[in-house]
Symmetry: C2
Subunit: 418 residues, 2 copies
């Protein structure tokens, strides 16, 4: 008997119930105090007291009157306060930087995107450029009366969120960078809660919260950009594992003595299904050595999709092969972890029409329980940049899950900056 | 925002704290009420009331007096009541049936083992034989004043614990057997809580609670018997996944077009490292087609160990090859799940001295984060039959985790049956 659960005292019970009420408000589209009481099982007096507390903290506000089906007294509805806080999502990838600011309602209140090739450049230079972009954004947000409370930076590499470190990002050529400390110094925002996360994990979180994750709780999310990133969602949560580096589906071994991978190993999923491997199989030239930009209109992915749609045999065959490799990898993941879905993100999402069937065939052949529990092969439902969206949402959720850490707003102080 | 947490009311708070106090008693080796209060953070009045409740239910009892280092008042210590309840672990495997009864202190109070080849026999016959064995044991236990509260049956196949079903056990030749209903009927014990579980999962749980799991919380446990079973422990708990069938490490794909596996797929871990594959590589004959009994003194595993210890080149080479295959499979598992240990159980435990090095080499080469977080290659620390022990412990834990479901014992009723 190892882990001893903590006792529950009145104070931690109140904080727990404060988060419970906040989540109930966030889940609803305008709920009355009576409805919150009915949903949570808390009594009405407690709900009223907790709602008042959340209003003081600037997290919820009263909205219009609702008449519940014409029966009973009308109640004032409570909604999240979209005019109070914003959380920032940041991203540095091989060929661009991006940020987005979302309010408590998840609405984008500011955003920016800069094409910038950071490969081989000093990490400090790139972080300073990002900080410059952000300082202007923070000023604009404050002028609108919004309080920025946190930021999450997504990076394409192994990160240590607890220490705020990037350990290694092979495609950027960075290693051992204290990114959080450097960004905090460049930004000069001591109160801003800054965190770092792997960009594929952030894509998986965005999918979890706003994509297929609304109906499924357990899946492997695979994102193709320059490398092959992935995130593992278990029980509706990102799974990091004891090492902190779980979810590396891209580096599961498919062929023990297969082609060399960027990670130094052989026969990894990434080495067999990554963009360069795919283009080589399809007989298409990459834009140049290591200079593919998958998102541009003239990108190799666009060419692949067009050629596949036109039925070009070599491209169709290459996609079938890549689908079979992905499917074998997914089958191993499903056998081990027992998830019942896999989700194709990044450029794999565009190729879903051609990848799905070979993936499904491998799953049926290789998953021990496939006769009893089918595995869904989904396509990411997120438009645009999933990682930066996921970064902003992660920062937001951290606050919503722990409303106790948000200090009450001084009366009359809100909006004064505008 | 999907899952809404449940609110906490005084009644559920009391049940939570009841379990907390029971766990504190179980973790300690005789603790006073004051010590329980100090450990849990609950106040002494609450602790006294909860302890009285647990005594009424027959779960704990007062033991001797303890003098805390000569300072302060002496206190009466509280311990688990080893004379009240027993939980049963049951196992049916290809060549034997077994049971064990353990009390709240984990002590074996009765046990039995019958060599019986169940391959190809009707499931109902085997379950009836097991029931016969058990009825005598239950009578003996009751005559000793012990109350049997539950049983868990381990089977070498895919099981659905919620429905009490065995879906398929290839090596037994069983499929679609309502094992819990059949055993309950044959036993005629309507009040006994009977469950079913995969035997490798039970081995993993036993390792988790009484073996290496006392120091590590996240590992893949691999057990070799006739097939290759496995269980995945995440955060100190058995991970089943959304399908309910997670942990099937033995059926992860190692070689896409490799040898045919008993599951119908190709190139699974089991097909490459299972006992028959290993013996073939080592140039040793199995006892007969499909009739190996790994536990006997003249078993092929014993011969393998002796030949390896004598340095026989072909056997040493076969073990290195099998270790490399296992290592590649473990590396994929670690990359995906982020566990920081793997544990060799079953006959792999006996072969640990020869398998460890090749496994470690593959982990270092193939795990992306291996430079930052090493992965431990452990050897199961459980003597004897891990599955049947795990079955009994699982049944016991279910009761300890939910003491509210144990009804108070009528005063004077205990021991009357004797």
């Amino acid at each position: 008997m190892t882990a001893t659960p903590t006792p529950i005292d009145p104070k931690s019970m109140r904080l727990h119930n404060l988060a419970l009420v906040l989540r109930t408000v966030a889940d609803g589209d305008g709920v009355s105090r009576a409805r919150i009481a009915a949903i949570t099982g808390l009594n009405k007096t407690t709900v009223s007291s907790l709602v008042a507390d959340l209003i003081d903290r600037g997290l919820v506000r009263e909205a219009g009157i609702t008449q519940r089906g014409g029966v009973g007294r009308p109640g004032v509805t409570v909604v999240l306060d979209g005019e109070s806080f914003v959380a920032l999502g940041l991203e540095i990838n091989v060929d661009h930087m991006a940020f987005t600011a979302v309010d408590l309602l998840g609405r984008v209140r500011d955003e920016g995107f800069v094409r910038r090739d950071s490969r081989g450049r000093a990490a400090g230079d790139t972080l300073a450029s990002l900080a410059l972009l952000l300082r202007q954004a923070l000023e604009r947000l404050r002028n609108s009366g919004l309080r920025p409370v946190g930021a999450v930076l997504g990076l394409p590499g192994l990160v240590d969120p607890a220490q705020g470190l990037l350990l290694v990002a092979p495609n950027l050529g960075w290693h051992d960078v204290p990114v959080v400390a450097q960004l905090r110094e460049a930004l000069d925002e001591p109160d801003l809660d800054i965190r770092v996360e792997n960009e594929a994990n952030l894509g998986a979180l965005a999918e979890c919260w706003e994509g297929l994750g609304r109906s499924i709780d357990d899946f492997v999310y695979v994102s193709g950009y320059i490398g092959v990133g992935a995130g593992l969602i278990i029980g509706g949560k990102l799974h990091r594992g004891a090492t902190g580096f779980g979810g590396e589906f891209g580096h599961m071994t498919l062929v023990a003595d297969g082609p060399r991978c960027s990670c130094g190993s052989r026969g990894c999923v990434e080495a067999l299904v990554g963009l360069e491997a795919l283009l080589r199989r399809a007989g298409l030239e990459p834009d140049g050595p290591g200079r593919s930009t998958p998102t541009s209109a003239t990108s190799p992915v666009t060419r692949l999709v067009e050629a596949a749609a036109a039925g070009e045999p070599r491209v169709v065959r290459a996609l079938a092969d890549v689908g079979a490799h992905l499917g074998a990898g997914f089958a191993s993941a499903v056998n081990l972890v027992g998830c019942n879905a896999v989700v194709l993100g990044g450029y794999f999402a565009s190729l879903h029409p051609w990848l799905r069937e070979p993936i499904e065939r491998e799953l049926a052949d290789r998953v021990l329980s496939s006769a009893w529990v089918p595995v869904e092969v989904g396509r990411s439902q997120l438009p645009g940049d999933a990682a930066v969206r996921g970064a902003a949402l992660l920062s937001l959720r951290a606050m919503l899950d722990d409303p106790g850490r948000v200090t009450p707003v001084a009366p009359g102080a809100r909006g004064d900056a505008g």
